[in-house]
């Protein structure tokens, strides 16, 4: 088969210049003999939104959990701002400015919004006790920016709606000045109005120069927000494309058939035609 000449220059490359905020190269991880992520390379620049797409079980969540420090990769290299990064646990990831909003929201249901926001990074009084009042004040401030109607500061987050829980999860990420934000299905649990709110927020964060990975199995969630998309299938990278170079149907073809279109840079997982 002859190599197809791409209709666009440098397919799949970012329009941003400089050093990528995140550069994951040839990442592999296996669970019980199954290669959940197999030689995947993705990159992400400051102020850019990259959508990571694929079916359920394609390996997207596993890939970003490696970046977030929840799993250690079997092979591959992660560079943060051009420097090789050793991310062994979630605390390491946070030190690199990587904040993650998980699909499951990862909130402790039995404690209030402030306790969740500061979980693992509590504010302390000079006597070494929890400064709950200061934490609540900070929570009121950040929530006032994200979701001005939020009132349930004293309640366990169990009592919150999906959108309110989502805003607590996002508040946690932005309060700590994330440089790199990973959002796993950020709108999965939300109604249309709340989804629009989250989209607005993503644009705002992007304008502030934050690098954002947006993970979804639904192309409609991300296509309009993302600058580029990387598609995974069966643990492998099908390809990466700028959203301006490909159509939604072509991306859908990547997700379903694993077929890399001419506007995309094909990865190792692309189906041969």
């Amino acid at each position: 088969m002859n190599a197809v000449t791409s209709p666009v220059a440098n397919p799949g490359a970012s329009r941003m210049t400089g050093t990528p905020a995140v550069d994951m190269r040839d990442i592999c991880i296996s669970f019980g003999g199954i290669r959940a992520v197999d030689g995947v390379s993705v990159d992400l620049y400051p102020g850019e939104v990259v959508g990571l797409l694929g079916h359920n079980g394609a390996g997207k969540s596993t890939l970003i959990k490696i970046l977030a420090g929840a799993y250690r990769p079997d092979a591959g290299e992660i560079r943060i701002n051009g420097e090789k990064a050793d991310i062994g646990n979630p605390r390491d990831a946070k030190r690199y400015g990587i904040e993650t909003i998980y699909q499951t929201l990862a909130l402790a249901d039995n404690v209030d919004a402030a306790a969740n926001l500061f979980l693992g990074r509590e504010l302390m009084t000079p006597w070494g006790t929890l400064d709950d009042v200061a934490m609540e004040a900070a929570t009121r401030e950040v929530m006032g920016r994200l979701n001005p109607n939020f009132r349930k500061f004293k309640e366990p987050v169990r009592g919150l709606s999906g959108g309110q829980r989502q805003s607590v999860a996002i508040a946690r990420a932005i309060h700590f000045n994330a440089k790199i934000l990973i959002m796993d299905e950020p709108t999965a649990a939300l109604g249309p109005q709340e989804t629009a709110q989250v989209a607005e927020l993503i644009k705002q964060l992007k304008a502030e120069g934050i690098a954002i990975f947006l993970i979804s199995h639904d192309i409609h969630d991300v296509f309009d927000l993302a600058d580029r998309v990387s598609v995974m299938k069966n643990g492998k990278l099908v390809g990466t494309a700028r959203t301006s170079d490909v159509t939604k149907d072509e991306v859908l073809g990547m997700i379903i058939l694993g077929k890399s279109p001419p506007g995309a840079l094909a990865g190792p997982g692309a189906a041969a035609d």
Partner: protein, 440 residues
Amino acid sequence: MTDTTTTTPAPASRASGSAPAAAPASFIGALEIDVRFLGMLGALAVIWVVFDFLAGGTFLTARNLWNLSVQSSSIAVMSTGMVLVIVMRHIDLSVGSILGVTGMIMAVFQVNYLLPTFGFNHPAVIVLTLAAGIGIGAAIGALHGFVIAYLGVPAFIVTLGGLLVWRGAAWAVAEGKTIPLVDDNFKLLGGGANGSVGEMWSWVIAVIACLAIAFAAVQARRQRQRFHFPLKPVWAEFTLVISGCLAVIAATLVVNAYTLPPALARRYAEAAGLTVPPEGLSISFGYAIPVLVAVAVGIVMTFVTTRTRFGRYVFAIGGNPEAAELAGINTRRVTLAVFALMGALAAIGAAISTARLNSATNAQGTLDELYVIAAAVIGGTSLAGGSGTIVGAMVGALVMQSLQSGMVLMRVDTPYQNIVVGIVLVVAVWIDTVYRKRIK
């Protein structure tokens, strides 16, 4: 019309980004007390009144209530640790056996090593006995925690093994012999006439407690003012502080109303070189030392669970272990620490109960694990994890002990006592389950 009369607060005009919540409508809402805790106190009051009626007025006497407080101490101390264990979705079946083995070790250590070294009633004896007991209890708990957290064996199995191992170890320490305690200072931990602080000190403690309650209320209010948070109405603050103080005063009146029997009082007065007035002496017991120990443990444990990072992590892990892990909490280390703490508290329980019996036996603490778990669960600790309070568990311990001593006063035989306690446990948890579903 001026700005101040507008009903909606101006947004973002102050440090807090969002407006304060509307004033709570109900009386109890304004007081900000847990309804379930009130319900538990109500249940306790009902139990007391019913037993007093059934047992012909022998239950609500100063003497019985004083005994009740002493009998509850050991279980109450251990139940505070069990709350944390259960909040983290674990269980500890070994506390009774840890109590047995640490009590035995403390007695043997004291009699065979400390007494010959330091001599009779030397203050170092009680200090070193307690240090050894608590240290060994913590080490046993830490061992359980290590196997649970790092080797991944379920807590149920590890502590079931511990139940057998440490009961056997308690026998092995002195080959089944009963070891009588000798140190008089240590015996004070068991209560009794000597192990109580007397009338004057009881009032001193009561005054300090009332001042502490008022101080805590003022402090909390100041903190909230600092960040312009909605405040409780002043009448609610006063209601809470005054009812807290009244409870303290009532308890003090009760323990002071229990006096030494005349014969003992005369002997006590003679020993102290006092002249006995013709109408007889009235010497009050006052608060028993084990009760004060239990209250102190309760205060420290409440502080640990609500004001420290460790306590926050315990609850977060109980609520969602995965979220806690992803937030960067070292869940294994916290698990190990919780079991070590449980072991240390079992050793304190051992000190109280061996001192109360004046001796250590290898059967001591048998079935205590079940009373401790029952106290925590009756006290509102959810076996699903993530919720529970220290004060609730301690009231739970009091409920369990009230049932038992009430039935003793009614001359109910032990097998029937067990039947009642078992049924009450199940019914209490069922009511709690129904309540929890309702508020959802």
